[in-house]
Symmetry: C2
Subunit: 365 residues, 2 copies
């Protein structure tokens, strides 16, 4: 089907994450210099500019520009995952710069690769954007992705760019990440066994704290806001956990209680989390989380338990395993009806007593 010659961009009614109309921020579609728009620069011009920002993947045998990319998979298996980020749901252009969005979109996928015990090798990016999207904004996203990938030796090796739906002024980014297991077994969500140690790598609650700050119209403390804009997943901790035989692992993208619940369910076990250990791991020494929580009259434990998008990793290890660098014990696995407990409380009760609205993301509600 030919693509249309004219595009009706609807006048978007922007809504905050809570569904409440907010003071209208910058238009969803940045209308800067018209000469910079995707419509004027054209598909191939935009792709050229974006590819120039994308760096080179060490594992790429064929990079962008052909029908498909060719990526080395020395293990003989490839780990692959995909995430979709929608403007107005997963990012806002008035809260995050283009470079921030690139970092965040890459991180969400790279963390999923790490959560299998693998090392990321390459990304692909699908983009649906309104024709008046600024090319410089897309270059910023590419630069952010490249910067997030570079320490891993990964980069964007291919993608697709199309015009957004005729009724939409919003950008949709779809990112696929590939990874290599280096001969190790993949660490699934289903392998936790009673007696295992539950351990955490990375930060929790920081992204939610930064979001709370942004929602109230503030931009400091910068550490919290930056954590929301550019999460810092502990990529190396994934493969490191596989070496001493992690029995199960997952990325914490929807919040600790929610994702621990998925792991517990898939493994058919109870994850007994220790509140004191969580406090030690996530809230000591006191920092921006306490500072913001105190200013807002909230309990920072709500963010630790239910805040998403930090992309920390949760894993279970055999009791005799020495936890690798970056991992901290926060509980133990026991037998029983699958679920999560926090120092004996149910997940729902623990979330409630911290003042959280639920145990994590509820999609499509």
């Amino acid at each position: 089907m030919r693509r249309p010659r004219r595009v009706a961009v609807s006048s978007a009614t922007y809504r905050s994450d809570g569904g409440r109309p907010v003071t209208r921020p910058r238009p969803l579609v940045a209308r800067g210099d018209p000469a910079d728009s995707v419509r004027v620069v054209g598909e191939f011009g935009v792709i050229g500019r974006v590819v120039a920002r994308s760096g080179t993947a060490a594992a790429a045998e064929v990079g962008p520009g052909d029908d498909a990319a060719v990526v080395r998979a020395p293990d003989g298996r490839v780990v692959v995952t995909t995430d979709v980020l929608v403007e107005g749901r997963h990012f806002r252009r008035d809260w995050s710069s283009a470079v921030d969005v690139g970092h965040k979109a890459a991180a969400a996928n790279l963390a999923d690769v790490a959560a299998m015990g693998a090392t990321a090798t390459a990304l692909l990016v699908g983009l649906a954007c309104p024709p008046d999207t600024a090319t410089s904004w897309l270059e910023g996203v590419a630069a952010g992705m490249a910067a997030e990938c570079a320490p891993l030796g990964a980069a964007v090796v291919g993608g697709d760019m199309v015009a957004a739906a005729p009724d939409s002024g919003s950008i949709v980014l779809s990112v696929t990440a590939l990874g290599d297991l280096g001969g190790r077994a993949a660490v699934l969500r289903s392998g936790a066994r009673a007696g295992d140690v539950v351990a955490l790598a990375g930060r929790l609650g920081w992204s939610a704290c930064g979001l709370a700050v942004l929602r109230r119209g503030f931009t400091s403390p910068a550490a919290a806001v930056t954590a929301h804009r550019r999460p810092l997943p502990p990529y190396a901790a994934g493969p490191a956990a596989a070496l001493p035989g992690a029995t199960a692992m997952c990325d914490l993208s929807d919040g600790l209680l929610a994702d621990a619940g998925h792991l517990a369910e898939d493994s058919g076990v109870v994850l007994d989390l220790d509140r004191a250990a969580l406090v030690r791991a996530c809230l000591e020494p006191p920092g921006p989380l306490q500072q913001v929580a105190s200013a807002l009259g909230e309990d920072p434990m709500a963010w630790v338990l239910t805040g998403g998008e930090d992309h920390a990793l949760l894993a279970t290890f055999p009791p005799e395993a020495v936890l690798p660098e970056g991992w901290t014990a926060i509980g133990a696995v026991s037998a029983g009806p699958a679920g999560v407990r926090v120092s004996g409380e149910s997940a729902a009760a623990a979330a409630r007593s911290a003042g959280a609205e639920g145990t994590g993301h509820v999609h499509f509600s």
Copy 2:
């Protein structure tokens, strides 16, 4: 970031491909049984139903449900490509069934894998959809993808589902395909050399013909309409072309002249297409293309030269090569400023003389 609790679905002004308002078709968001909506069924319920329709990939070591999938890559390299399909641009729910959309979305990606000389092993699917999307529609898409993949032994091994942008009532599908080269060199677009034979595998003009029928409100001849809804890429012809040493190859998704132009450019050569050979390959014996063209007063050669989405394959072979099954010679490669000629005419002149508006897709115009 939490996803919103309420979603504003804009009242979409549907526009035809030509940008002209058309008689309002079925609403972009199918509102059947509310109990069938994604909002009510919920993310995990929908994923469960969709996965149940998705079949199993022979190469999948870990399928849907974990942080990432694990797909065998016996070649030690993986071919990977991604395509984004936007409702109202790449498909219309009143012109194609859910199963059709699944077939088409899979085919576009599987053909890109074939165009590298590889065999597809797995798909991943990212989906952004309005919360009132019918779950049964998504099941139909999954069934169509599964049916398109099954003959190759491939299947969907993972994905992501999120709510569409707050301002959009349209569905965005993002499909990533993986493939294996089976020890063969990847066939790029850049390897054509003067003296090579230009050859075609698959059909041309059928999808454009079907689109012309649908645009005028008709649904027959069925063969043409079906070709638009479910293209028939010659998957096996890709790896088959690699064996006798195809020097360059590409998928014809934007139209023969447009994509041949990319191959010519990347190889730095002239592709001299032979009009009589093209007529023999694409318009003989006479069939639906002539029938529809005659009814509409159009030249079927316009569809052959510029119609997209049939996902035929174009390749160049060394002069001494024996063309594999499914391939037909349609021209020769010569030296000169990169471009495409049709029996001596420039691509633009050939398109014009067939009555086509341009040489192929113009994106973001």
